[in-house]
Symmetry: D2
Subunit: 266 residues, 4 copies
């Protein structure tokens, strides 16, 4: 069965009694104290060390996604900690499990959408990008465009122009961000209304332009969110709200008679 | 019921249609592109911005804990992704759930142990630290000292001296690391054998010296590990081993008759 | 915002100082000691009490799905318990997280597939079901038919005929099972080979015939698996294998140079 | 390394192309349609088939623990499903992660507490049990007695007498329930106040009397709760409340300036 009769291959952590290596580098001598955490996370995911500019864009994305206040994931982490304070890992894991299609998923969905529509060769200038963006929007018919629209920031998500500028400053404004920006320029005319390019979508485009695996873009949103959820737990420790949230629901329950869709086909 | 008739307090993320703030700062203008991810994670947890030196020590700890190769948590994340590739969040959460008492717990346990034994006022010099360390070890009787010993790095964990040097360089070699170092110096005489100060213990001591909440030290190990687990998933994508691991177990199962401890007391 | 100014409605558990009700019934007097666990689980999901026959079919499905030996989910639960023995909830949760598209998902996918192809009115006899089944298979082109095929039980999954007989005995052989059985009859001629109707698919069809919500069919597979995973943990306690599984991977790691798909588009 | 050069032993699920066995029995022929789900869950955990009486007590315990309305775990499952509707397994796992020391833990804690105080030989009659109970309570000093007291059912938890009667009817009122009942009789005099024996504690005592492994008692509470959480999801599907719960928190957030315990020791 195993093809790997010679062992399970990995370029990640490995140890001997005297040494610890990570990604082929000496952990103690070459990484600790020399490599920032964002840089290391990129390196681990891409198996190549990012440039300073790539690290800056990557960390800007992580900052944009780290915490959005009392999201479902934040509430879940606080409630789980209330219920099982013996297990910090359980509280964090529970919060991350909300990182699915509706909330954190936009980042990944946007990147995949943009990626799917990139032609080869790529458009040569903004005019050509705009033409492509119009084709993409028309092909969508009325379907939702991932990354377009925001329930709150209706006149513009402040993260989007900021991230685009950072990417441009670092020479990392690639095809995904180019198509995303073009969609932002051309959609008002086609859709008859102006929607904001949201920050989650911009983050997805930027991560894709960094060449990170599309299958794992949701993972970076989750990494960012892990830091945010630790912040939520730290705040819960000295400014607790979870018990009141729980009581606000439990004390306001209203008993209704059973009944539902559970009929039989038999 | 709610004391917070005026609302649930938070200093973390908050949004208006035009702005997004995080920790009281403007997310787009003051954080994105300016604050590294390790620095931000510290800031979120402590609700104060760390110094450059604190960030360096903190990121060195995260690097030390990010990935240790094919640990149970890494294997769990890969197997879960094999089984449910539609849910990256589930694969990461499953891996983090292994971050309990036996593996990641050492970081937190060491910090708590050291913290519990710090006197007020603190020892004034190395001689006084050594005296304290001897008292602590004697009080333990034969019980295990968290942070002392390693199944592989028997002659020394390379992360420990490196982390101590980084903390010293940044003026952040505080009382937890001081007691930990003293235990390292005095235990051979008392225990009759020389054990290494392990890296997880050194990380716990360093995090405690940074003033981070003891209740959440396991959380930082989990944050570091999240980056490592994303690395494991990225590697699984182009160098898969999970299916072979699964088959190596399943194809080697050996049926035995049922039987166990499940007797009745009735 | 809340429409529910009058409270959050629920027909599930509710308590007063003197009473506990569940689904409108008195928990202590009417449920405990009188309602089996499978029956209760059905009642909770459908908000109506099942008949004896429905309970028998439902419990047969749960039995079919409870444990399949050293699956990835079972290995994950054992490894997580090894790593974090302080958190049984974490070990079970980690195992359940493998219940996604590849393994447990077949149950739900089959039910949805069959449901999508049921006409109104339903076929009147087996000949008409066979005609429908042929149309369904043709419409699939070469695409995979959920529930058809098994990597091991190539000549027939013993669970399938057994579950069909139980459903028939209880008068609960409904349209989903009928279409599934018809697919079993007609596919060899159309596909040019005979594949088994697998047990997971039969379970999905049977659950759908019971009128349980399609959105939650995976949930029942997970309920069954929770019992199986507790069995795995119980066995791990007195016949441990997790540490050896871990070592069999870790000691067989093979360091390779870093490298991957992480190029930049910038 | 492996002692199990001859394979990983298991008495649980095993398959050949023609057969599927579980616990040494033929799954299709001997279990499906013949063994209820509660009975099977007991069998899986104890590796012996329970008697009818044991099954009845066991299922009464599961019923008592299945759902308590809008608990933190129920809210967590609903919020996670709101946020990630693509992953039922994630929503259930997140809910189970709240099954820790504060809520579900009482079941296990009570059983362990009672078990630890059982003498050998056991008391012969109620008078002797009362004497033991008084010794146990005195030895606790003022410390909390697991299973004693309830925040709502101050004059008696209706599940407790019911479960005791069922156990007695089945001849399964063993030493754990005996000591628990004795604590109920003698504590008012010693503590100067009358507290209820809570249902979770009674469940723990009953499970221990069934001879189930103490290390896994929390697991049975989680199995029961899995059924309850599926009920919560089913209700959320046609009577949703999660979005309003989320908004009731998010819209009532109150920004406060950062600040916390994150000082440095450096």
């Amino acid at each position: 069965m195993p093809d790997h009769a010679d062992g399970y291959p990995t370029a990640l952590g490995a140890s001997t009694p005297e040494t610890i290596t990570l990604l082929g580098a000496d952990l103690a001598g070459d990484i600790m104290g020399k490599v920032g955490f964002g840089e290391l996370a990129f390196w681990l995911a891409a198996q190549r060390r990012p440039t300073t500019g790539e690290t800056r864009v990557f960390e800007a994305v992580l900052a944009a996604l780290a915490d959005h206040g009392f999201t479902p994931t934040a509430i879940v982490t606080r409630l789980t900690y209330l219920s099982a304070p013996d297990s910090v890992q359980g509280a964090l894991a529970a919060g991350l499990l909300g990182g699915g299609s509706r909330f954190l998923g936009v980042t990944e969905d946007s990147a995949r959408f943009l990626h799917r529509h990139l032609p080869d060769p790529l458009p040569a200038d903004d005019t050509a990008w705009d033409t492509l963006a119009r084709d993409v929007l028309r092909a969508q018919g009325g379907a939702r465009i991932p990354g377009l629209g925001h329930h709150l920031h209706k006149d513009g998500d402040p993260r989007t122009p900021r991230l685009m500028r950072i990417a441009a400053e670092e020479g990392l404004f690639g095809p995904h961000l180019s198509l995303f920006a073009a969609i932002g320029r051309v959609h008002p005319r086609l859709l008859g209304k102006t929607l904001p390019l949201n920050g989650a979508g911009a983050c997805g485009a930027a991560l894709a332009d960094l060449g990170l695996p599309l299958e794992l873009l949701r993972g970076f949103a989750l990494l960012a969110r892990t830091a945010g959820l630790i912040g939520q737990l730290a705040e819960e420790l000295h400014r607790p709200v979870a018990n009141e949230i729980f009581l606000s629901v439990d004390l306001n329950h209203r008993p209704v008679p059973p009944g539902g869709p559970g009929g039989s086909y038999g």
